[in-house]
């Protein structure tokens, strides 16, 4: 098992490097100028030129690449062009904001999803089953930005219950700590709802299918036959096995933690990784784009690995040798 993990981690390194190189070249080959911000009527053109020289943007592409690889190997992520700060510093500021959103969303996703899946699977064919199935079909067929806009329209603008955007109120820094937490919580409700509930619909469908498959297995019939209560049959025998694919799903949701909230963060103006990446791409902020790709690439690869490992742990029939 350990050997397998080491092997997977080792093979992930060239993968990650390929990903970053791909990003490096595609953003640099693209037309467009990261210094376009400084090409204005009242800014000396030499300023942009000097900046380009100091940042090494005038070097030949292979040279830039060598410098970049050197930076990567020494753990140097560089300076952001558009935010005038260390990229690692920006990431350190942004990642917690996103995690705050996505950890809650993931929690509700699986909590609600599993609950819905189990309920509908146990009451298969009932009215509840049909209602939940139809509504989850509609929920996961919705563009999430539109769901977000509709919630802003209904909850924030019409009913005035919750703030529409941002992470805290404009004057939040003058609040006491409990008030500050309350303020952030209020801002979180809508984005977490959009992120979590929309995916709960898909998770629920998955869970329903998985449980239905397990319920028809022989060992569940055996458990029933030996007179166990329905609660024990489902809770102890069926559910544990039905959760196996869900655990894989959990591992595969790992990249979502840092990269899944692009649209929702944009709709709700939440200062997180998704919004940061979109802004970086539009500003052609090369070091920041590479850093965001690195972060999300690591998450994807780690998520896949985690999914495989979890799979082997919960299902001892699976062996990786």
């Amino acid at each position: 098992m350990i050997r397998y993990i080491i092997k997977r981690v080792m093979s992930a390194i060239p993968l990650l490097f390929g990903l970053l190189t791909f990003t490096f070249f595609i953003i640099r080959l693209a037309p467009g100028d990261p210094m376009s911000l400084y090409i204005q009527a009242d800014v000396d053109p030499m300023y942009a030129e000097n900046l380009r020289n100091t940042l090494g943007l005038n070097d030949a592409l292979p040279l830039q690449y060598v410098k970049w690889v050197k930076g990567m190997l020494t753990g140097e992520l560089g300076m952001s062009f558009s935010k005038h700060a260390d990229v690692s510093r920006i990431l350190a500021d942004t990642i917690p904001n996103t995690l705050l959103l996505t950890v809650f969303a993931l929690f509700f996703n699986f909590l609600i999803g599993i609950a819905l899946g189990v309920t509908t699977a146990l009451k298969r064919g009932s009215a509840t089953d049909h209602i939940v199935n139809v509504s989850s079909l509609f929920v996961y067929s919705m563009p999430e930005f539109w769901l977000g806009l509709m919630l802003i329209l209904g909850v924030s603008l019409q009913l005035d219950l919750l703030p529409a955007s941002g992470m805290h109120s404009p004057l939040a820094k003058y609040l006491s700590f409990p008030e500050y937490v309350w303020d952030v919580l209020q801002h979180m409700v809508l984005p977490v709802f959009v992120l979590g509930v929309a995916s709960a619909a898909a998770t629920g469908r998955y869970m329903r299918g998985s449980l239905l498959e397990v319920v028809n297995q022989d060992y569940v019939r055996t458990a029933r036959a030996k007179g166990l209560s329905e609660f024990l049959v489902i809770g102890k025998h069926a559910l544990r096995n039905a959760l196996i694919p869900i655990i894989t799903l959990l591992g595969l949701s790992l990249p979502f933690l840092l990269g899944g909230a692009v649209i929702v963060e944009t709709v709700f103006a939440w200062p997180g990784m998704g919004k940061l990446t979109v802004d970086a791409i539009f500003a052609r902020d090369y070091p920041l784009i590479i850093a965001c790709t690195l972060v999300s690439g690591v998450m994807v690869i780690a998520g896949n690995l985690l999914a495989d490992i979890l799979y082997a742990i919960v299902d001892p029939r699976i062996r990786y040798d």
Binding site: L15, L16, G18, L19, F22, T23, I26, I27, L29, A30, P31, G32, R124, G125, L137, F138, S141, M142, P143, E144, F145, W146, L149, M150, I152, L153, L157, N216, P255, G259, G260, V262, I263, T266, V267, T277, V278, I281, F282, R284, I289, C292, T293, S296, G297, V300, I301
Partner: protein, 496 residues
């Protein structure tokens, strides 16, 4: 008496063969037959309702064809982009019923006697199962109707999608609202002179006719109308309120002398946007972007994914490991980042935005399919019929296309159908980040994007296109699920 009866019988026999749907209805497929018949009859009805427009397009097409044949050097003079959509709609309007007629006739001929279930192909069996699934079948009917509307939008949309005038009066009208208009005697803007164009061609009179027809065809009709908030008649003038000001318009310039003659209303079922454009028309025109883009992008990604999956699975060894590592790298990108990076990288290249988006969406979403196909190929290529084909010395290309591909087609088709919905959602999300299809071309995503700043006082702009997206994506998902169930009846039995 008998002769009348036989002639009536002849009419029935003729009708069953030549009118799509009638035969099916008579043979017992009541629902399918009735739907097909109604669909078929809708085409002549649309032609009759828009006869002027239809004839104008025919005239324009004939003139263009003539000029293309006789005077190709100057064809850029008279081929206009915005007329092409009228051409396409009209061709569709004519070809579709003929195609239906032909298919129906062919079907009725081959279906001389009832065939045993064992003689039916896999496809015919699946189709039988699919028709039994009412929900999926209704979703399919809905999708067909949507695609038809998308093709016919110049005939169906009530207004031109980009037409607006007097923003003060017409913008932000709520759904079901009416705008008062005054009909003018003379158009406010005269059509451009055609002399300059005519000079350069050898057939000046044909060019003149064509340009005039095309102008009439693409005219939004607003130039002979004037929108006002309210008006009253005072002696020889009409006093109209436009915004905050009171305008005086001489009745002599209007098309008539009494209010019933010179005034009317414009009805906006779904309201208007911030410029005063009709939302319903924009949604109808916007459906073209979402539907065609979803379809073409999925076609591209499925073809590419299938090809790569076939190669990797069939040839194995190095091909397999290289192609699958490529898949791994591309899958390690969060899809949306990849799409964003590529689109923003290539947005200044002189390719229409829709084409760019189709390419990017198609080329970034094939990885899942190729994994699926590779897995299927790995199992199918060890089966006896493939081994037999190999033993017979059949070439690789032929084995792949004739023996392996047909046997793995069903999961590919199901997957593709389920994917279209996802692609439509991604396209809408791109529009929401404002890198999708650009204004003034309407797409569902960019109508929502445009309306998001006016949520508090004009909710309908962003809300209504969203419903369109949800309905379409739900329908594609239902059809996909239905296809999966009907290709795999065993699964179906287990399910309920």
């Amino acid at each position: 008496m008998t002769s009348r009866r036989t002639s009536l019988l002849k009419v029935f026999v003729w009708g069953r063969r030549n009118i799509p749907g009638w035969g099916f209805y008579a043979r017992g497929s009541r629902k399918f037959g009735a739907l097909l018949l109604m669909y078929f009859l809708a085409f002549p009805v649309i032609i009759l309702l828009n006869l002027d427009q239809f004839l104008m397009v025919i005239e324009s097409m004939a003139l263009s064809a003539f000029l293309l044949a006789m005077d190709f050097d100057h064809h850029t003079l008279f081929v206009r982009g915005d007329v092409i959509e009228h051409y396409l709609a009209t061709i569709f309007l004519v070809v579709m019923p003929v195609l239906l007629w032909w298919l129906n006739r062919r079907h009725m001929r081959t279906l001389a006697e009832d065939r045993d279930i064992h003689e039916l192909s896999q496809w015919a069996l699946a189709w039988r199962e699919f028709k039994k699934n009412n929900i999926a079948a209704s979703a399919l009917v809905f999708i067909i109707l949507l695609y038809t509307t998308a093709f016919l939008c110049p005939y169906i949309a009530p207004y031109h999608p980009n037409a607006f005038q007097d923003g003060l009066v017409t913008k932000f009208r709520a759904p079901f609202s009416e705008v008062t208009i005054l009909y003018l005697k003379e158009p406010r803007v005269r059509p451009l002179g055609t002399e300059a164009l005519q000079m350069r061609s050898e057939y000046p009179s044909v060019v003149g006719d064509l340009v005039r027809t095309n102008i009439a065809l693409t005219d939004d009709g607003f130039s002979k109308e004037r929108t006002v908030a309210a008006f009253r008649v005072e002696a020889a003038n009409v006093k109209a309120t436009v915004g905050d000001s009171l305008v005086s318009i001489p009745i002599a310039t209007l098309a008539g002398s009494i209010p019933e003659e010179f005034s009317g209303t414009r009805f906006h079922l779904m309201g208007t946007d911030s410029y005063g454009r009709d939302i319903l028309s924009r949604i109808i025109y916007g459906s073209r972007v979402s539907l065609s883009l979803g379809f073409v992008a999925v076609l591209l990604s499925v073809s590419l994914g299938t090809l790569i999956g076939l190669l990797a699975g069939y040839y194995g060894k190095y091909a397999d490991s290289i192609l699958m590592r490529l898949v791994d790298i591309l899958l390690a990108f969060p899809a949306l980042f990849l799409i964003l990076i590529i689109i923003s990288a290539f947005e200044s290249i002189a390719v229409p935005r829709v084409v760019l988006i189709v390419l990017v969406l198609g080329l970034t979403s094939w990885m899942g399919i190729s994994r699926l196909v590779r897995g299927e190929v790995l199992s199918v290529k060890e089966r006896e019929f493939v081994l037999a084909a190999r033993a017979l010395g059949i070439g690789h290309a032929r084995i792949l296309s004739k023996h392996i591909l047909p046997n793995i087609l069903t999961p590919i088709i199901v997957n593709a159908t389920l994917r279209i919905g996802g692609i439509i959602l991604v396209e809408a999300a791109l529009s929401y980040l404002n890198i999708g299809v650009q204004q003034p071309t309407a797409s569902w995503g960019n109508i929502i994007f445009e309306g998001k700043d006016f949520l508090s006082h004009a909710w309908w702009i962003s809300t209504l296109p969203g419903f369109a997206i949800v309905l379409v994506v739900v329908s594609f998902n239902l059809v996909g699920d239905g296809l999966r169930d009907s290709f795999d009846p065993m699964l179906n039995n287990e399910r309920l």
